[in-house]
Amino acid sequence: MSKTSRYTRLRSIFLIYIFIFLFFSLRLIYVQIIDYPHLSGLAYRQHNLVIKVEPARGTIYDRNLRPLAFSINLESIYANPRMIKDPVGAAHLLSDILNIDDAYLVSKFTKKKAFVWVVRKISPETANKVKKLKLSYIGFTKEPKRFYPNDKMACHIIGFAGLDNKGLEGVEAMCDNYLRGKPGWRYTKQDAKQRELPSYKNKSVPAVDGLNVVLTIDSVLQSIAEMQLDVIMQKFHPKAATIIAVDPSTGKILALANRPNFAPNNFQKFEALARKNRAVTDIFEPGSVFKIVTASAALQEGKVTPNDKFFCENGEFKPFPSYTLHDYHPYGWLTFRQVVENSSNIGTGKVARLLGPQALYNYIRAYGFGQKTGIDLAGEVSGIIRPPSQWSKTSPWNIPIGQEVAITPIQAVTAIAAIANNGVLMRPYVIEKIQDNKGRVLKEVSPVVVRRVLSEKTAKLMQNILAGVVESGTGKAAKIENYRVAGKTGTAQKVEPGGFYSKDKYVGSFIGFVPAENSMIACIVTVDEPQPIHFGAVVAAPGFSKFVGQSIDYLKSKNVLLPANQKGGY
């Protein structure tokens, strides 16, 4: 090789290197200086990650801290359609495992998006089957799902939370602010496979878990109430039925159950009517149970004494020519006590005449009718009570016997509880306290005295008269072995859409408390359109007897078994 040719070759190689060097230098300048903002932005977005940390939704407990609703994390599956080359094949692969229609999955997988939900909150078994397929375009994330271990029990109190864990009805909705918690976040980095690198975790704000809500209801009492409602539904096939039990001295709701009901775990499968909390949202004409208001008002105002006599017109009375008041059984002379015991409409009407419309109206309002009780459940209605200025000619005779008025079951049980509580009306409530995961109580609801409706003396007199209703009057079916029961039956005709009373649609009810003195439970049982029998004494009173009898036995045995420091309260 000549010297010149060698020199030329060396120069060529040098020039190539220089050219390559220049190329890379220019590229470096382009990448590092000219395109720096764009590329650094891309890298930042690819590596850095802000992860939202979801808080755990709080648990709902009954008063004995038995869980009624709590959250479990379940897998949700998402897909990146941009990575799917064969949407039909992918859909076919997953449709059998997930039990989802092929066409639905294909529609999801053909979307021009980087993220689509495939299915949310599935069982661990199903998630594992999908994981075993190791599909690169499928991702998994955990989401909390609300579970209700007691199935349908207390469904109208607890309510339910939706797919996004927001409370939609019942206590879930009322206490959503407490239960929901506060989401946190963490700022971290991820690798090319989108795996988080915790060692690069920079800043984080931890999630604050939701607080727990403790209710006043007792699972066992609630279960007994549900059981009795099932018996009533089987025997009398009513359109609806309700049981509410209250602690008269505090206003705590011990049990509240309605039929029809629903399962909060699958609330979508039930009609809206089944989700209705009839105890607070439905109004009904109370009929004879409303006579407790007339009777107690007359006693309190000193217009009558228990032994005053009233002539009950042998079952038919015309206060004015176009109107006749009937009694179910014809009675002659009855004492005031017997008027209540036998539920005489004519006798009660005459007692109300002595009292006068305005005084009666004042007591109706004092018992809380025509206004919301203030119970901490959504959807409560006020009922319908007209002032005397709007009364018709028949109103002074109809209203004292529970017609021309509309009340809710919760109002009725609150009123009877006032008599049981020696004349003091308490505000009913279901949320007892709010506490954190360590059991520290952050908020405790105390019993609220609304007002004194009756003097203690009158209330005790009423307790005695109402005990007579069960001992020798219309409410004999409500008797409970070993306990003195006080109560009142009611059978009311329903009003048809045209404004006239139906001949075959009734609401049978029983309200009462046990024991008659120093009572532990006040309760209402209402049965809407029972068939074939419609009398409150037949359809509601036996349910009351069974429910309250078993409840009192449970409460007393519980008090025996409790440690000394927990005894005392029922």
């Binding site: 479990i72 579970f147 199935d151 988080e196 690198l197 915790p198 059981m227």
Partner: protein
């Protein structure tokens, strides 16, 4: 600068760079391990919640009642025990013993074993 010094500097800086990179790699590996452990922990906690749900579900009065109805020939005979049916048995091991006070003399007594002797006499 002498060539040897340059080489020493080169070696030291290379070693430092390798050390830094190794450290970063190890940190990343540990990060992955932490991730895996956290995942396992959260999976275990979730499983625990699921098992608890099953326990609560089985213990729920509704479920117990349903099982009872299935097994019982005469479910209407079901009755909740009342106070008179329950006999509370005293546990002999939980017999109340005199409580030693927290005073200094009492604590001293405990150390010297005087209080325990006094208790033994009481039991006689």
């Amino acid at each position: 600068m002498k060539l040897s010094k340059f080489f020493i500097l080169l070696v030291v800086s290379t070693m430092a760079a390798i050390f830094y990179v190794t450290q970063q790699v190890e940190a990343t590996k540990i990060g992955y391990q932490i991730n895996a452990q956290q995942l396992a922990l959260s999976d275990t906690l979730d499983q625990r919640q699921m098992l608890l749900y099953n326990v609560y579900n089985l213990k729920s009065p509704e479920n117990l009642q349903e099982s009872f109805y299935k097994k019982s020939k005469k479910p209407e005979d079901f009755k909740i025990l009342n106070k008179n049916h329950i006999i509370v048995l005293a546990n002999s091991n939980q017999k109340q013993r005199p409580q030693a006070s927290d005073s200094v003399t009492s604590k001293l007594g405990n150390i010297l074993g005087i209080n325990s002797l006094a208790e033994a006499k009481t039991q006689e």
